[in-house]
Each structure stands twice: as C-alpha cells, then as structure tokens.
C-alpha cells in the first residue's frame, strides 16, 4: 500500500532520516516506534506530502506522492485520514460541524444525508451524545475520539495516528486501543500508528518498525521484537534506564568537568 524507499530527510544540519526503506501492508496495523525526537511525526508528514524529502521516494497506492501536482495530491489525501496528537479540531465549530466539515467541503451531499453520516461516525467512536459540544469543552481523550471520527469521515483507505496514546488516563487509553483495532477491522483500513507507548502499541500492531537516530533499528511482529537480540531494541521495548542509549547526555567525564573549574 505504502512503500518508502531510500528516504533521506534533514532539518538544518541534522539528519532525521538517513536512507531508510519500509513497507506498510494493506489492511494491517503498522506501528512506527522510537524514542521522542526520532522523527516519527515527521515521517507521517512526509507520507501525507506536507514535507518534501531530500532524496528517496514515498509511494502511496502506486503513486509517488512528491511528484504529484497539487490537485492530484489533494485528491490522494482524501483517501488518507490523519489523527493529530492534539486532535487538531477546528476550535470555532461544534463537534458535529467538525466532522461534517470535510464531507461538506468535498461532497455535494444534501444536509440530511450529511446529518446521518456524521451521526454514524460519531456513533462509531461512542460520542453521538457529545455532538453539540465545542472542542474546548472536550477532554483530551474525547477530543482524540472526535478527531478519529473526523479522520474516517470521508471513508479513507489509510489512517495515520500521531501519538494516539500520549497523556491519556487508563480508561481512555483502553477505549482508544479498542477503537483503533475495531476501526481497522470493520472499515478494512490500513493503519499507521506512530507511538512510543510500547505496551499499548504492541497489543494491537501487526508489524512494528523501531526507529533510532535516522535508521531502522529493528522490525518485525511484536513477538519477534520482544525477543530481538539487538541490545538497543531490548532497551526500548523493555524501558530500561541505561543501555546502548546512555542515561547521560553525551559529555566529558564527570571528574574532568569538575576539575575544569
């Protein structure tokens, strides 16, 4: 469905991705994992065509998205839903209008059909009762569920989740995990999750790529990764404080630092 070949992307001097290649299987949940600052969100923006890589290609549905014209890119984006970390709901519209927004913009459907569609989407995330609320009145977990409903409003083929589990209480966490799974199954979606929450992600992902320092440090099914012989992957998957990723930010030895003064 989506394949990334020899992708290099840098921001200023820093190389965020250094010649990586990965594939995302249709109708599966693929997770991209890695520590904060590994460029996971950047990868989603590259797939969505919001950023342009230095070299390499990203093909979605057989089309190299960085060679598309603006109009073609916009057509392709209608097949992609994206869930932003903050939800990215439009703050001057109610929950109902937020979900109706992409439908109203991209289709000529009459208002009563839009009404039904929106309620269906809201029902899927369990928030039919919250349709009159404004985004500022929603809790973080609810905002993310509304954003999910909006992401599936146009019945996309691909849906991308940017850190869906960050900062959620255990109950909304459970709800989100279940939602991602059921949406993927019932709507036959191709899901991409970007996350550093190991437990939740491994519980639903079919395949996982672990990124570190611009490279793919490990890949495989959750089970394969848990048994990986890479020390780095072990440290990440099991959340050890020290290991190949040192506890200390790189510096001179402590004694040298003390003696310097």
């Amino acid at each position: 469905m989506i394949s990334i070949r020899n992708l290099t992307f840098s921001r200023g001097e820093q190389k965020i991705f250094d010649n990586i290649s990965l594939d995302i299987m249709p109708h599966k949940i693929t997770a991209i994992m890695g520590p904060s600052g590994a460029g996971k969100t950047t990868l989603l923006k590259l797939i969505g065509g919001q950023l342009i890589p230095d070299t390499g290609s990203i093909t979605v549905d057989g089309k190299n998205i960085h060679q598309l014209s603006r109009a073609q890119l916009y057509t392709l984006r209608k097949k992609m839903g994206m869930l932003f970390q903050s939800g990215a709901l439009l703050s001057d519209m109610s929950v109902f209008d937020n979900i109706a927004f992409p439908i109203r913009e991209h289709t000529q459907l009459p208002e009563n059909i839009i009404h039904t569609l929106v309620l269906l989407k809201l029902n899927a995330v369990g928030l039919r009762g919250a349709r009159h609320l404004m985004p500022s009145e929603l809790s973080g977990g609810m905002a993310r569920r509304v954003a999910m409903a909006r992401a599936i409003a146009l019945d996309p083929e691909v849906i991308m989740y940017d850190e869906p589990f960050t900062g959620q209480d255990p109950i909304s966490l459970g709800v989100l995990v279940r939602l991602i799974q059921t949406l993927n199954k019932t709507l036959q979606l191709t899901s991409i999750i970007v996350s550093h929450d190991v437990e939740e992600t491994t519980s639903i992902a079919d395949y996982i790529y672990v990124l570190s320092q611009g490279q793919i440090a490990g890949q495989g099914t959750p089970k394969e990764l848990a048994e990986s012989d890479s020390e780095w992957v072990q440290q990440f998957m099991h959340g050890k404080a020290d290991g190949p990723v040192p506890f200390h930010y790189p510096c001179d030895s402590f004694t040298a630092d003390l003696l310097a003064h």
């Binding site: 919001q50 994206m82 932003f84 709901l89 439009l90 927004f101 992409p102 913009e105 991209h106 909006r150």
Partner: protein, 259 residues
C-alpha cells in the same frame, strides 16, 4: 568581524522572510476567487475584523475630532480665522488622521487578533489538519480574513473621519460658537472630493492591504509555541505601525507633494 557576520546573517534572514511573505501573498491572491464564491466565509470574518472594531473606531474618531475642534479654535482665533475651523478639521482628518489613526488602531485591534488566531491554529495543528483533509487552509482560513481586512479598514477610516468632522462640529460650533455656516461652507469649498477624499480612501486601502498581509503572514510564519505566537503578535503591531507611517509619508509625497 563578528558584527559584520551578524549583519550579514540578519540581512539574509530578512530577505528570506520577505521572499516567504511574497509567496504567501501570491497564494492569497490566487485563492481570492474561491472566497468570492463562498461569501459566508467572508461575512463571518467581516464580523470579527470589521464589526468588532466598529465602536473603537467610532469613539476614537469622535474624540480626535473634538480635540482638533478645541485646539483649532484656540490656534485660529489668534488670527481671527475661526471660520476656517471646518477646513482645518476636515482636511487633517480626511487626508491624514482618518486613514492613519484608524489603521494604527486597526492593527492593534484586528491585526494582532488575526496573528494570534492563525498562530494558535498553527500551534494546535488545525492548519496541518486541514491540509491533510485535502482542504487548503489558504483558501479556507487565510484568504477570507485577508479580504475582510482589506474591505473593512477603508470603511472604518471613512467612519473615523466622518465622526471626527461631527466631533469638530460639537466642540467648535456647539461649545465654542464658531459660526455653523462658515464651518460647513468653508469646508465644502476647500475639500475636494477626488484630491482629498478619494486620496484618503486610497491611503486606507493600501494600509488595509499592508496590515492584513503582515498580520496573517506573521501568524502563519510564527513558531508554533506560546512564545512564538506572542512575539509574532508583537511584530504584527510594531511592523504594521512602521509600515503605515512609512507608506503614509510616501503616499502623501506622491498625492499632495505636487500641489
């Protein structure tokens, strides 16, 4: 040497920003036909940009006019020329104070709000979110606001000048008993519709363009953090003020310089 490098660095940075701003402006222009097809978007922005600035402009205009009325009588009575008060009030308001002060107030009231709003939308990923929904935020968010600012300020400037002239009437004629006939008749004979009023409107149209452009660009270009938004908002007000004063000098030199 260090100083030179610093100078070079900031010059390059400003040029890059000017380039981004020009591209931004170009994309707004190409998006304007879309706004004209969706008048509802425009009306909503006309409300928050224009209508909400209404009372500020009305009251400021009235007070500025009243003050010119008072000061004018004191100054002109030295020469026994109180009759010319109408000319003095109208000419200063229509040519200069109306367009300039309303533009400065507009930059503070509406420009800063636009920057903060767009900056916040960027920070909360609403703009990216729209792009990913295949909806162009330039068309849907930026262009309607630009057009609303562009249309509102000239109207506000006209209101400012009108209220100012009435304010001058209040203090000059009602309070200090300048002859009501000479206030209005001398004004009418001295103020020319094209040379004074139309030129004043042209000024405020240009100010409207500058303020809307600066405010929207600063918001769009802001660093997506709270510190980024606050400094962008400050820059909007400061840069708009400088730009207004500079262009006012330039336009005055072009319009009234030859007369």
């Amino acid at each position: 040497m260090n100083y030179l490098q610093h100078l070079g660095h900031s010059t390059l940075k400003s040029l890059a920003k000017l380039g981004r701003a020009s591209l931004f402006f170009y994309t707004i222009i190409t998006a304007l036909p879309y706004v004209l097809m969706r008048p509802k978007l425009l009306i909503k922005q006309m409300f928050s940009v224009g209508v909400l600035s209404f009372w500020l402009i009305i009251i400021s205009g009235l007070f500025v006019g009243m003050v010119i009325g008072l000061q004018g009588v004191y100054t002109l009575s030295t020469y026994g020329a109180e009759g010319s008060l109408g000319i003095m009030v109208a000419a200063s308001l229509v040519r200069e104070l109306g367009p300039v002060i309303s533009a400065l107030l507009f930059a503070g009231r509406a420009g800063s709000a636009l920057t903060a709003e767009i900056g916040l939308m960027k920070t909360t990923e609403q703009l990216s979110g729209m792009e990913m929904m295949a909806i162009d935020p330039i068309k849907y968010i930026i262009a309607p606001r630009f057009l609303a600012g562009f249309l509102s300020l000239p109207l506000l400037a006209l209101l400012f000048s009108s209220l100012g002239i009435l304010g001058g009437h209040l203090t000059g004629v009602e309070l200090l008993h300048v002859d009501v006939g000479s206030y209005w008749v001398q004004m009418q004979s001295a103020i020319d519709f094209y040379d004074d009023i139309v030129n004043g409107i042209i000024k405020s149209v240009i100010f409207a363009w500058i303020i809307s452009w600066i405010a929207l660009f600063e918001g769009y270009d802001a660093l997506p953090t709270s510190a980024g938004i606050s400094s962008a908002t400050t820059r909007t007000v400061v840069n708009s003020a400088f730009a207004i004063l500079f262009f006012d000098l330039l336009l005055t030199a072009i319009m009234f310089g030859s007369a």
